[in-house]
């Protein structure tokens, strides 16, 4: 940990505790000086942090000298947003007859709450789902690009990777998204046949990972086997016309990868290996269902992507079960909203489902927070 990270952690902790900006600035200034002095005396970053204490310890030690901003402007701004959103919604609906997308103003409620309450990198990551939804609907309504407009949802994991992962792991983490974007865009705009043979390019993902973490002969064999599989795949498709057997060559690198212990299933953070396997299997099943449904039924790109919403919901279920029901709500709201809009044409009313997000949060999370606050108070005594 360096000085900047340490001071950021203090800043974020105090900000979450609603300490006034003036007091936060004062504490940061003091700790910046203390940090510099300790470094000048020859202490390492780790030793300095140990000496000066963690943000929680600092807060607990000085909280009786702090001033709080509990009735502050950020709460007022968040509290007023439902009214602002409602006014904008009706204005946009009645004046411009834009009922089908006027509901997007309700996204201002969580967006403003994030802007005012979340700090640092987390703010950007927390905002990306909402930016994606707005972008997706703009692409859909204005350009009729529902497909491949759904690719915009990739900004959520891509942003999280860009901001939280460094070095080789960043490139490895980004590869599935880069490959999928290229695969879908080429399949959509260049040639539809690319959907049948272009998935060979997914071989780039393990190739990049193997090259980045090259450990010797076994990896070389794996790399060669992947190239051979791709070559066999393309031969089966183009020369022999055996589309249905095109997947077979990939069994070779798959088996070798398992034998060499180089295939690891890492999908959902914080889950154990068994849960990861279940999550990966279900995610693949959902993805395949989504693709199959779209190939079988024509012109459902506009709404069929809601099937993909099940993937993050499975991740949440495997990780926390129903400990935080509100985590499911953005996905459930979007699914219900789209179904009501597409099949019932109730765009002008369907936005109401988004109100379920803060409602569930209030009903299920406020009790948790009071429990935590109560624990804090008890531990202080």
């Amino acid at each position: 940990m360096d000085k900047k990270t340490y001071l950021n952690q203090i800043h974020n902790y105090f900000f979450e505790k609603e300490v006034s900006n003036k007091d936060i600035a004062g504490v940061i200034e003091d700790y910046s000086e203390l940090y510099d002095e300790a470094i000048a005396l020859g202490f390492t970053d780790e030793e300095v942090v140990l000496k000066l204490g963690q943000p929680k310890d600092i807060y607990d030690a000085i909280k009786d000298t702090l001033h709080f901003d509990r009735s502050g402007s950020r709460h007022k701004i968040v509290a007023i947003m439902p009214f602002v959103a409602t006014i904008l919604f009706f204005t946009f609906g009645f004046v411009l007859e834009g009922w089908s997308y006027a509901w997007a103003f309700y996204l201002l409620i969580p967006v403003v709450a994030i802007l005012t309450n979340v700090r640092g990198k987390d703010k950007i990551v927390a905002l990306t789902p909402f930016i994606s939804i707005i972008g997706f609907f703009l692409l859909g309504f204005l350009l009729e690009a529902w497909h491949p407009g759904w690719l915009i949802f990739f900004t959520v994991p891509v942003t999280a990777i860009l901001l939280n992962v460094n070095g080789k792991e960043r490139m490895i983490g980004l590869m599935p998204f880069i490959v999928t974007i290229i695969y879908i865009l080429v399949g959509t705009y260049v040639t539809f046949d690319f959907y049948y043979y272009g998935w060979a390019m997914y071989a780039i993902i393990p190739l990049v990972a193997l090259i980045m973490h090259y450990k010797g002969l076994k990896d070389l064999i794996l790399v060669i086997s992947i190239f051979l599989a791709v070559a066999a795949h393309l031969t089966l498709y183009f020369t022999l016309g055996l589309l249905e057997y095109a997947w077979l060559p990939y069994l070779l690198p798959l088996v070798l990868g398992v034998l060499f212990g180089r295939i690891k299933i890492m999908m959902f953070d914080e889950l154990d290996q068994k849960q990861n396997k279940i999550g990966l299997a279900l995610a693949l099943f959902i993805l395949m269902t989504y693709l199959a449904v779209n190939f079988i039924v024509q012109d459902i790109w506009q709404w069929s992507w809601i099937i993909l919403m099940l993937i993050p919901m499975i991740g949440i279920y495997l990780g926390t079960k129903f400990k935080h029901p509100v985590a499911y709500m953005p996905f459930i709201s979007v699914i219900v909203f789209i179904l009501l809009g597409v099949f019932g044409g109730y765009w002008e009313f369907a936005w109401i489902v988004f109100l379920s997000i803060p409602m569930v949060a209030i009903l299920t999370e406020s009790g948790e927070k009071s429990k935590i606050d109560h624990q804090d108070e008890t531990s202080d005594k």
Partner: protein
């Protein structure tokens, strides 16, 4: 074992005394006291902050050889009066304790 509140009171007294003797910057006070007393470095900053909040200390910035100016602590008149009271109370307290330990005044 002395309780935490009692220790904090003694630390207030020590910090006020060293700052009265010589105006110092935060880390200097921490270094000086943590060498003499068996305390964590991170217990002194909150006391400095509280004493400043109570107007017993005031601070001013002074250039340092490391670049950024340092925040120096200086005892105020109010702080000096409070320190005098603390010292009188401390002397009376230690005298009473010493009398007990030496077996005097046992009735």
């Amino acid at each position: 074992m002395l309780n935490t509140q009692f220790k904090k009171g003694i630390l207030d007294l020590c910090i006020m005394k060293v700052v009265q003797d010589e105006e110092m910057y935060g880390f200097e006070i921490i270094e000086k006291l943590s060498k003499v007393l068996d305390i964590n470095e991170n217990t002194i900053y909150p006391i400095l902050r509280r004493l400043t909040e109570q107007k017993l200390f005031e601070t001013y910035a002074k250039d340092s050889p490391h670049g950024a100016p340092r925040k120096y602590y200086k005892i105020t008149d109010r702080g000096k009066k409070r320190l005098e009271t603390y010292i009188v109370e401390w002397d009376a307290f230690t005298e009473s304790v010493n009398q007990i330990l030496k077996g005097e005044n046992h009735g």
